[in-house]
Amino acid sequence: MTTQSIPDARPRARGSIASSSIETGTGAGGTAPRRRSAAWLGFTPFAAYVVIFLAIPAVIAVASGFFGADGGFTLANLKALTDPVIIKSFQGSLLVSAVSAVVGAVIGALVCFALLGTKAEGMLRTVIDSASSVLAQFGGVMLAFAFIATVGFQGIVTLYLKNTFGFDINADGALLYKIPGLILPYTYFSVPLMVLTFMPAMEGLKSTWGEAAATLGATRRQYWTRIAMPVLAPAFFGSVLLLFANCFSSFATAAALLSQGGIVPLSIKQQLTSETIVGVSNTAGVLALGMLVIMVVVMFFYSLLQRRAARWQR
């Protein structure tokens, strides 16, 4: 038995074979060394696939920023990162992602709170889980259409506000076609992602803690501020980072709404369709590098926070 280190393994026997007691198993792994070395070959397809379509593209993406037009190695391209347009697009990306992540996290956490105590396998949770998955991971172009139909020039909310209150949300140009306008759809897909990522942490709150606190005379407010919130804090901030990373790397929604640049993924698109900054080659690679650095930092802190949060989720 070599694989008993699975953290949340719940050994469950299903089917008739398992019901007979198996104490005499000789161990499937205990075969001849010849077979063992041959079995390594089983990794070949996966390894080859991942190297060709994940490792190589990722390396090319980052490395291409370090090569000049003549094919030689250079650090000169990095000066694209000081270009005002590029700086502005990084600022735009960071701003939109940060605002959407924080707003999405707060609303999503509220939804998780509301879902506490409902049955995880119940219809309500299944519907919310499925809807969250769709909106968080599937949206892209389609969410752009949804928001055009909502707050675009002829959008239903636009018309309603105009006709009822005489207020035009698109008064200074179309809201949705400017960078801050992206916050709307980005928040829209951040909230469901928050529900998906934060719910396990929320469910990790043991009812015994609440009872213990109440027995010691704590009010519910004290329970929340002194027990639940400190316990949930790492998971919450971890989720904020994940939401941020998700917004930061998202492309499809923005591409469907905006034709010009303004956030980093759109700038990469502009660079790839050859609208280069003067004197700098392979700007797309430099931008990809910049994005990746931010993503790696964010995901590093995310995994730190997750590890901390996992302490309470046993």
């Binding site: 694989t3 879902l115 409902t118 892209g140 259409f145 990469i268 698109k269």
Partner: protein, 303 residues
Amino acid sequence: MSAVPLTSTAVEPTTVPSPSPRRGRTPRVGAEPSKAARLIILIAVGLVFLVPLGAMFEFTLRTSGKPGVYSFAHYASIFHTDPALGISYEPLFEGIRNSLLICLLTVAIILLILLPTMLLVELRYPRVRRVLEFVCILPITVPSIVLVVGFVPVYQRVAAVFGSQPWTLAFAVGIIVLPYAYRPIATNIAAFDLVTLTEAARSLGASWPVAIYRVILPNMRRGVISAVFLTVAVVLGEYTIAAFLSQNTFQTALLLISQTDSYVATIFALAALVFAFVILLIIGRFGAASPGSRRRRPRRVQP
């Protein structure tokens, strides 16, 4: 130690103005919200989230140029294209066909490459599990827009071998799908005793193929089906890679059609969202059918 009186704040004096915990109803302890709070939050957030979807539906019923006139004309026009308008939905249907083909191939990659590798790791090399998990989760850290920068040159080679066919996108999309496919399968593997079952089958005389086909795979049905459905959903929603590798898939076709006929584009977008919702709902119900794995959805990264 004497018993602590229930109502006093004996733990520590606080600045919180604490009313007596017993107000009318039975006091609630722990984190659970009151029924009213739950209803208010869920209904409020639910309504806000339905607005854009409702707006999409309302939009598809509109008649251009005539506000307030609603009809299903745009739905009918999908099947009976008005030749006078000169709009052809053929690119859209072609995109859907391409996407379905890519779906099929991506599912094949998951089932024929990822799944056997995961089984091999579980059965023979459990120490490699960490590495495999890391690799499979990695595509979340590397945004598709970054990968695309590298995909462009790689696909010049791919095109040299296979030609610039839409189905070749399946290789790239398979990478994007890895985290989504890995999670449910891994959760499923953790939920039953794979090694013991296999050993039992082997000691009862089953050959490896028989043990895998008749003992292991039936136990993994749920994880595998979740992985396949999620893969289908992700592939149908994939836009970035297709756009940059200049292939016509469902999403790129949607964007293209939206420039000539935004009504039909919105109809298809709404239908796709509903379709994805339904398949995920089926996974959810399917998972609920038997206990054991409640966290069947990939929670993005979970180190």
